[in-house]
């Protein structure tokens, strides 16, 4: 290996990588090919499946997780109003809202790698990371939406117990 070549040629790294990979290229395996052919003709892989939908970008699935997260957020709010009346004088947010905002501010941790099976014919279920990220995204959206509504701040004065106990029948 010529050190001078490496220093002079700006693309020497690419050349090295190509050369090294070429030296390690496997040979065609007839056994593997025959194994694949056998699997093509039997079992669940016996034929192509019909296209059920156009491949969607990753962002297009966001609404599913967003909806899921929103439902979770609404449930949390309902618990807050149903379980404990907000302090009418304090002007603070209900407990669930605080929890919601806290969740929204949490960074989703986990692997850098996130396989996306959609549109590529990989029949696997969404990973836990994807579900978790979807829930957080939905909760975050819900919290941001509620905080943007001016009336939200007045909810601290909302008489939840009185409302629930009132006769609302027509």
């Amino acid at each position: 290996m010529d050190r001078r070549l490496i220093r002079r040629d700006p693309d020497s790294l690419g050349d090295l990588l190509r050369r090294e990979a070429a030296g390690d290229r496997p040979r065609f395996s007839q056994a593997l090919h025959e194994r694949i052919l056998r699997r093509l003709s039997v079992g669940p892989a016996a034929g192509p499946v019909a296209r059920v939908a156009e491949p969607r970008p990753l962002a297009a699935r966001g609404w599913v997780w967003g909806l899921f997260g929103s439902v979770a957020g609404v449930a949390a709010l309902a618990l807050a109003f149903g379980g404990a009346r907000p302090d009418p004088a304090g002007g603070s947010l209900p407990v669930a809202a605080v929890v919601t905002i806290d969740l929204a501010g949490t960074t989703v941790a986990g692997d850098d790698v996130s396989p996306d099976p959609v549109g590529l014919g990989i029949d696997s279920v969404p990973s836990f990371d994807q579900l978790e990220a979807g829930v957080r995204e939905g909760v975050s959206t819900l919290a941001a939406t509620l905080l943007d509504v001016p009336e939200w701040r007045m909810l601290a004065d909302f008489d939840a117990a009185g409302f629930l106990g009132a006769d609302v029948a027509p």
Partner: protein, 189 residues
Amino acid sequence: MAAEAESDDATLARRADGGCRASFSELASRYQVPVVHYVRHLAGRGSADAEDVAQDAVLRAWRHIADYDPRFAFSTWLFTIARRTWLNQTRAARRRRVREAAVAVADSSSSAAAAAVIATERATRLWQVARAELSEREFTSLWMRYVEDKPVAEIAVVLAKPVATVKVILFRARRRLKPFVRDLAGWSE
């Protein structure tokens, strides 16, 4: 000329979509070696594991051949499926390993580990260093660029990332490998 056109990947894929097993078999044979080669380096394990992943990827491609977009090379689609198949298969094992020995895993991707690879392996040492030192995305982007000669736009398909992001990933990967190239050059002299 007609025969040549008839045998291109897109045509074979279209025929396979129509149920022609022979056309898909031809595609599978064309890309068996590149896919096994890639997965073997990606997995860093024996060729048997790589062949299992390649087989799964090919079978999934067959089942979902209707989803293939001929705007991109068939090999790009197949590499994408192979990469994700490998990621799916190793996800559980990786998490278990992280839980059991987070520190050990961190060490395994350190420069010390890469240096150990350099010291003990002569064949394809640079790619082994790359696998030890780089993230999976960086490794795959380098492999697609320099081994498979894929344009950045196709690498973006494999990684499911924007083209600009792929350029940054490639830049980072090259920069991180540069010191090891110098080490290897000095070692082999």
